[in-house]
């Protein structure tokens, strides 16, 4: 495997993790707001 591909192979994972973190954060934010609006506990 070339040096470029190896570097990409190592560094791609944090980028994907960042994407997942964004999705989770957005979902959580919506739920917190919804729970607040409805006056109930988050869980």
């Amino acid at each position: 495997m070339s040096v470029f591909l190896l570097s990409l192979y190592v560094l791609i994972w944090p980028v994907i993790v960042a994407g997942v973190l964004f999705v989770l954060g957005r979902g959580l934010w919506h739920e917190i707001r919804e729970a607040k609006r409805e006056g109930r506990s988050l869980i």
């Binding site: 470029f4 994907i16 997942v20 989770l24 979902g27 959580l28 919506h30 869980i43």
Partner: protein, 563 residues
């Protein structure tokens, strides 16, 4: 920060204490917001079956990612080279995905269940239920132990504290915040812990990559790798790590109550979304952390004391700045806490629902207060047992593979029990016991594998390949496709596997567990004339506690009431 005897950077004692107090104190504080004055027993086990996507996906991801899996992925990268982390993380991630169709079926059959074993009680009876519940307890206990070991080893390496002090800090912290609110505390804190974990992964991997030389490392360190380690298609990595793990984690996902508990907690329409997000989150995180093992291999790092469990903390202590080393500590503590608190609440649910609710209390007469008391006592006892076993410091990767394979014996009988009306309690029990009796001597090489024995083991293992792939296909595409996939897999692998597979004890042991349990269960049931009505499960499994949950009343609410 001071370097220790081995030239590694360490955090000062007070820094570690402050970070742990901040982490566990913050987590405990979060649980105060969801604390109920009168906790509901069902809420304590499943949080009311209506948890939203953000929290459930975060919790599923956090629970699946444990400190041990981070260590094991790095070990895999270090041992098997560039494909090593894939053969650990990718298969683990895909198993979350493969389990989701079964999850949907289980939820449809028993929407108000608390544990999988509880459903087996209604489906079959006591022996099947207690067999699954017992294996869940053993698995969770091993999981807690390995997470405590990971935490103790980390604190011993990064601070002036020793291993025993480390596991006591960790065990006490987790127990404190889990004890009162149970599962609800576990999922809420998971959501916060996943942000710490994933945030740290995003920063730490590139930092270590560039600190070890960046792209140049792949040129200067290429000589450190064997041809197998340099290959992305390494057969060594597949046969020793990937294949046994594929077999083990399918069983792990079915046999693990922490996953089942989240399945029963999430809102039913969000199951798919939750599982897919957790698949991607787990895969990227664990493969990413495994890259630290690959980097260590290229950089020529030798694990401290020859123990690969030290590899990740050692890389962090060598290449990270004090601030990032603190962040790394928080990442590992978050990973192990999120899994350990899930295991505590899983064990407490099993003791509450399966042992007390269905076997000690008379039907319909379980006392919710007694249930809660049992749940909390279970957490205390389980933490004590985990600390006791952790002091023995066992090999984490071996433990993971062993338990996964042990659960392999349960996979077919459990899945079949949710789809096939003909499965009986006797068939379930006998098939699991026979499979275990065959698995153990193969796994530990108690019998010589020369001659006919080796061939018989290979034939069973080949059937096991068909069972594993067939089950995966069954979840998504139904019985017809599953049968075709299983048949093709058996026919395609037989010429290569027979006469060869028995050399790989871990892999063939797991596959034998799958095939034997499947064959015995099938042949004991296919002529059965009685058909089970799955609607019975829905009718017989419901809430244990019909009391209203009582919140701690806020000052605002009290004023309103007064007015």
């Amino acid at each position: 920060m001071v370097p220790d005897g081995a030239g590694l950077n360490q955090l000062g004692g007070w820094t570690v204490i402050s970070l742990l107090v901040l982490f566990f104190g913050g987590t405990l504080l979060m649980t105060f917001f969801i604390g109920r004055k009168n906790e509901n027993a069902d809420g304590y086990m499943t949080a009311g079956n209506k948890v939203g996507f953000g929290i459930s996906a975060a919790s599923m991801t956090a629970t699946w990612i444990w400190a041990s899996s981070m260590y094991a992925s790095a070990t895999s990268g270090y041992t098997y080279g560039i494909s090593g982390p894939i053969h650990y993380g990718l298969w683990g991630a895909l198993m979350i995905l493969f389990i989701y169709p079964f999850g949907k079926r289980i939820r449809a059959v028993a929407p108000k269940a608390h544990t999988l074993a509880e459903i087996l009680y209604v489906r079959h009876g006591k022996s099947s239920q207690l067999m699954l519940a017992g294996s869940n307890i053993v698995g969770s206990l091993i999981s807690i132990t390995s997470n405590f070991i990971a935490g103790g080893a980390l604190i011993a390496l990064l601070s002036p504290f020793n291993f025993t002090q480390g596991i006591v800090f960790i065990g006490t912290g987790i127990l404190l915040y889990s004890l009162w609110s149970g599962f609800r505390a576990s999922v809420l804190t998971d959501a916060a812990q996943i942000f710490a974990m994933l945030g740290a992964v995003i920063i730490i991997i590139p930092v270590v990559f560039f600190a070890t030389g960046g792209t140049d490392m792949f040129v200067t360190g290429a000589a450190n790798l064997t041809p197998q380690q340099s290959s992305f298609f390494s057969s060594d990595a597949f046969l020793n790590q990937g294949a046994p793990y594929i077999a083990a984690v399918l069983a792990y996902a079915i046999g693990n109550q922490t996953i089942a508990q989240r399945l029963f907690a999430v809102r039913e329409d969000l199951i798919k979304k939750t599982f897919i997000t957790a698949t991607v989150g787990y895969g990227a995180t664990i493969i990413g952390i495994g890259m630290l093992g690959v980097i260590a291999l290229y950089a020529g790092v030798v694990p401290l004391d020859g123990d690969t469990n030290n590899l990740i903390p050692q890389m962090a202590a060598t290449y990270l700045s004090p601030v990032l080393l603190g962040l790394f500590l928080v990442m590992i503590v978050a990973a192990l806490s999120s899994t350990a608190d899930s295991d505590l609440s899983a064990m407490s649910s099993i003791m509450m629902a399966d042992v007390y609710g269905q076997n000690i209390a008379k039907e319909g007469q379980a006392n919710p207060k007694t249930m809660l008391f049992i749940g909390r006592i279970t957490m205390v006892v389980a933490t004590g047992a985990g600390l006791y076993f952790a002091s023995g410091q066992l090999n984490i990767l071996d433990l993971l593979v062993f338990v996964g394979a042990l659960w392999g014996a349960l996979v077919f009988p459990v899945i079949a029990s949710f789809y096939w009306e003909k499965v009986t309690n006797k068939a379930f029990t006998v098939s699991v016991l026979v499979a275990l009796a065959c698995f153990i001597p193969v796994r530990f090489a108690w019998i010589p594998m020369s001659g006919a024995t080796g061939i018989i083991v290979d034939i069973l293992a080949t059937v096991g390949i068909g069972v594993v792939l067939g089950l995966m296909a069954f979840g998504f595409f139904g019985l017809k496709v599953a049968k075709i996939v299983a048949a093709v897999a058996i026919l395609a692998t037989a010429p290569f596997a027979i006469g060869f597979l028995h050399d790989y004890a871990i892999l063939s042991g797991s596959l034998v567990a799958y095939s034997v349990s499947t064959l015995v269960c099938y042949f004991m049931c296919f002529r059965n004339q009685a058909n089970f009505d799955f609607d019975t499960i829905k009718e017989r499994i419901g809430d244990f506690d019909n009391r209203q949950e009582t919140n701690h009343e806020s000052a605002e609410a009290l004023l309103e009431k007064k007015a």
